[in-house]
Symmetry: C2
Subunit: 688 residues, 2 copies
């Protein structure tokens, strides 16, 4: 079978995923809903999320147009020197990447803000229907994201026949992910912190009190941060892993491109099967159901790819590399769970330390967060080493390709991972709605169970997604070298063989690249701080100016929109300098030290990015669960000094795990793609 057949096969599977998503969406929509209060609040959340997305996509559209024009003018070669058609292809592929990512995010938000209401209602009938509603709502997002990724990549290949154009598509996906993840992260924490500061701390009103002008923004935040942001992030990683593998496969020739497409399509197929088979067992344990569907998907994927490898005569060594990545991903997820699960030692230690005051919550949480780096780093190191060594005997260039296939393998089940992850915010919202709709204690206890399973699974998927991004960007480093060498061949220059740490330019890049994730995180966190100050001022204004609001006079409502507006505008305003800093630093290093320095820069950026992403996500998750553990009545329970200290930990952890930590993934991908796309430029102009 030829390449076109595989490309068409991928398109078919992608379309099937969309069809499945549409069916799931209709299924969720058909579930009953009757409670008026829930419908009202649900509607406010829904329209708030739409406001945010609209604003964000408007800014992004402008940004994308500017970048598309720059691409058109300069990439892969200045348009007056090279082939204009190539530049046009690249610019269009870029725009397609942003558009498909935006579409997937929009679909996810659309269904999540319906599924929350339906799941809350379903809980009245029992845990099984409530679980299924939440899970199928999340699965819409999972199917849409991976469907869009596979569809985009295979269409770009089908139309252009040029693997480098997939890099352009991938850059589009990344730049949207940067907005969605970092912007969404700033939004959600701005709202969360401001609502708590004025509501809980100053006025002493409860968590989801409708008098609080920021309460809807807070609920919207869960959706835009966790659903849209996380979807864009994994869309980005999935596309990038395929882009890196395709660039290398194309330069190796043979049936390699077919294999990449085939494995990717089978991954989506396995996820469809896994989602379709997901049911809660007789024991009524939602975590078990979520984990079982992940294991099912993994197992189905291994079988399907083995059959395909036998049937189409693909290379078995590459299959092994791919499976190594997948298994290591699962193991990293499980190891991450240890550090954030409240039945394990770290969370309990932090909860106990909280009795001595907040400083000890912070110190012990940070210490365990730092320790949690280890299993994931070792896993990534081992996966890349094994993949390399397994593939090396196949010939020159295959070793790095093996790593990229290992990343493809790790990300193959991402459709399932996203489904599990998007389930979390849906049932979290459902819990809040059940409380506001006064559905009673039995329903609340069901939604609590669902929510707690969501938190457990979230930690696992977070570890998994950071590891996957790590392996992907290692593959992108290989893709960068491929791009440099093909650009060098075209320009009649000598190519490069590698990036030697002893070379001062490489080392220069290594140091600067390693500093970037820290600076990027710091800028985002300071952004949350500044944005929260603006929002707190607005909340104060409303309480002062709107008569009867503080007293809860019937009919008096706060201006929820104003808060959403402030969080949105501020989020975009604060994220732009951080994103620009990362991109401009890449360009500056490239211009100072050329491609050698960029190689070092990417290496440093990847490893320090992994460290900070793991540290921040895991310690944030740990503090969150330590607080919940104390609230469940341990170490003094709610209202005790330990609880106050645990709340401080949780507040510190919030921007760690929801703003800075997960945005670093996107930062490293963006920087890697900028480097690959500008490789020809850095080859021609550089100071040293």
């Amino acid at each position: 079978m030829n390449q076109t057949t595989f490309e068409l096969f991928s398109v078919v599977i992608a379309v099937a995923a969309f069809a499945f998503a549409a069916w799931l969406y209709q299924w969720v929509k058909k579930q009953p809903s009757s409670n008026k209060k829930i419908a009202e609040v649900g509607g406010l959340i829904r329209s708030g999320a739409a406001t945010f997305l609209k604003k964000e996509y408007t800014v992004l559209a402008r940004f994308a147009c500017v970048v598309a024009i720059l691409i058109l003018l300069f990439l892969p070669h200045p348009i007056w020197q090279g082939n204009a058609a190539e530049n046009i292809t690249m610019a269009v592929a870029y725009l397609a990447g942003t558009a498909l990512s935006a579409l997937a995010g929009k679909i996810g938000i659309e269904v999540a803000t319906i599924a929350n209401v339906k799941s809350a209602e379903a809980a009245k009938k029992g845990i099984k229907p409530a679980f299924l509603t939440g899970f199928r709502g999340g699965a819409v997002m999972g199917m849409a994201v991976v469907g869009a990724s596979l569809l985009g990549v295979s269409l770009v290949m089908l139309i252009t026949g040029n693997a480098s154009a997939v890099l352009g598509f991938s850059f589009g996906a990344s730049s949207l992910a940067l907005f969605a993840k970092a912007g969404g992260g700033i939004f959600t924490k701005t709202a969360d912190i401001s609502a708590d500061l004025v509501g809980k701390v100053e006025l002493g009103i409860p968590e989801d009190d409708p008098r609080n002008p920021a309460v809807i923004a807070d609920n919207v935040g869960d959706n835009v941060g966790d659903v849209a942001g996380m979807g864009a992030d994994l869309f980005d990683s999935h596309v990038a892993s395929l882009a890196a593998a395709l660039v290398m496969a194309a330069s190796l020739g043979g049936s390699n491109v077919n294999m990449v497409l085939c494995y990717a399509a089978l991954g989506l197929l396995a996820s469809i099967i896994g989602v379709a088979m997901a049911r809660m067992g007789k024991n009524g344990d939602p975590s078990g159901a979520l984990n079982n569907s992940t294991y099912t998907t993994t197992f189905v994927y291994i079988i399907l790819t083995a059959i395909a490898t036998a049937v189409f005569n693909f290379v078995w060594r590459i299959w092994f590399a791919c499976i190594v990545g997948l298994l290591v991903g699962v193991i990293i997820g499980i190891a991450t769970d240890y550090f954030t699960n409240d039945t394990k030692n770290p969370v309990r230690f932090v909860a106990k330390a909280s009795k001595s005051g907040p400083a000890f919550t912070i110190l012990s949480g940070m210490s365990y967060g730092m320790l949690s780096i280890f299993p994931a780093m070792v896993g990534i190191a081992v996966a890349s080493l094994l993949a390399y060594k397994i593939s090396e005997p196949l010939g020159p260039g295959y070793a790095m390709f093996g790593i990229s296939m290992s990343a493809v393998g790790m990300l193959s089940i991402v459709g399932m991972i996203i489904s599990n992850d998007a389930y979390g915010p849906i049932v979290d919202n459902a819990r809040g709605l059940a409380e506001m709709g006064e559905l009673g204690d039995d329903v609340l206890s069901i939604t609590d169970d669902l929510d707690s399973a969501g938190n457990t699974v979230k930690a696992i998927t977070k570890g998994f997604s950071i590891a996957a991004a790590g392996l992907t960007v290692i593959a992108l480093l290989g893709a960068f070298m491929s791009e440099v060498n093909s650009a060098a061949a075209e320009l009649g220059k000598t190519g490069i063989e590698g990036f030697d740490i002893i070379n001062p330019l490489v080392f220069f890049g290594l140091i600067i690249g390693a500093a970037i994730p820290a600076i990027f995180s710091a800028m985002l966190m300071l952004g949350v701080d500044r944005n929260a100050q603006r929002m707190v001022a607005e909340i104060h204004r409303q309480f002062n100016e709107i008569e009867g609001l503080k007293e809860g006079k019937p009919g008096v409502k706060p201006e929820y929109d104003k808060c959403i507006e402030i969080a949105t505008t501020g989020a975009i305003r604060e994220l732009i300098p951080a994103g620009l800093m990362a991109i401009l630093a890449t360009i500056a290093v490239g211009i100072i030290g050329g491609v050698k320095a960029i190689g070092g820069f990417l290496g440093g950026n990847i490893i320090s990015g992994l460290i900070f992403a793991l540290f921040m996500s895991n310690s944030g998750g740990l503090w969150d669960n330590a607080k919940k553990y104390v609230e469940a009545g341990n170490e003094g329970g709610k209202g005790s000094d330990a609880h106050k200290a645990a709340v401080v930990g949780d507040t510190v952890g919030d921007p760690f795990k929801d703003t800075a930590g997960p945005s670093i993934n996107t930062q490293i991908t963006v920087v890697s793609l900028v480097a690959s796309l500008m490789s020809a430029l850095f080859l021609t102009i550089s100071i040293f």
Copy 2:
């Protein structure tokens, strides 16, 4: 002039430094002291510090013997394969390194615990004599440390004529530094936290209340952590920079070894001149006096080395590389000051954020701590790039040698730096003694001024010493490659040309190496936590069992010794796993991936070590000064909510800046030296 002349010249300068130190010591000792209460407390601190050192050195002596036997058996080659004389030399050099470092530490503690008493007394006469006493006390440490370093290195060269033996000496210095810095760091924070938790928080008695069984341990901690620990750390860096430069100079031949020795000796001479000339100006500003003496030393060093270069026909390019390092070191120090000085924006922002609660103190402090990485990283990147490029035209091998000379340049004024740094804890102690001795408000205001200057200067010297360690270990990476290639030549194997990031073994090492500093820091911080729990239990026991202690009955004294004993034993017990982890990880990576993996491992370890060291030291310093800024009456002043939040920040920052942060320097040096020493072993046995 031949090499022996330069070696003898270095020995002479080193001896001169010791003579000068002896004179300063006598001068400090001759200063009057009369207050009985001060003498009593001073005596307790003195004997407590001696207890700690004795215990630490006993454990260390055993440890050193074991390591010396291992060296004797295996390094540089297994004794049954190679030249037994070489192994004996290496083992003896190692022991000499530990012994001289211990000696310098002992001298420093000896004088610091006298100078604190004398300086408190001198404050009765005015700020000038008090300053001079504190400064000259610190200078004894500065002269002893650098004198011992230069003496050891030049004697090893004079006796063995073998630059590799200096690596053994350097490893001795490093393993002691690991004990002194990490052990002292755990000790000091254990005592500090426990004394505060029980004294201030539970019982509400004041800071230095003599009823508190941990109060003497707390004061001892300042000396063992800041004086002995910091001295061992900089002894380690100074020796390591010379070792790296000498290994490379020896393989390059020519007058290079002479130049290294000559520049090092002139650095010590410049420091002697700087210390001798230090006086407080008419304006009575102690910070100005400290900074001026640093600038004097820098200036004198530049002049002296330029003259030497002209007279002895050394290479001007190398001189430039050396001066680049020195100037960048000074600039990094100044940039670090920005992030920790209470007249600048970061400290004020954190103080203001504290009004919203401790979570915001932590978040904003961490954000600025992360931002503070940037200037130092850029400085190190630029210094190494410039040094490399300046030296590259001299021929193969010179480029890396240029970097090592840049590190030598940066560390040349370390005698002066240590003097300034050791001044800090002396005047800090003097302040405490003045309070306990009830010397009155005028004296306290003088000691406050001296103390505050100590804090400002400390931030600068800390940034300087981290940068110097960074540049040194980059040079050690070069030394490692030299060692590998000479071992390869002896073994008839092919050498290596570099460490390519694209090579999977190098990348494997890079990832694991980058994870180590985080794990190491986490282990130390958890160690402080566990140790503090033991000590709190002991304090409770004493308050319960010793009758009349709580009430302050005359004649009833707590058992200070028990607390010192617990802090000491615990510190050593907690530091051993962390140190072993770093060393065993190095050996494991070397055995798995051979010298290529080790190259990557060192690269990753250096950059992530720099990031964590800078982040932790600077955010710790920032929180400390933010607390002091609030205490000075800003943002609500003492007792306000902002103050409580700032105290939480300070408590988190304490183990950051005094335990984990500065120990990372030592960790990266130890690991680099282990790698260099075991290079022949990793060449012969490795799995991949």
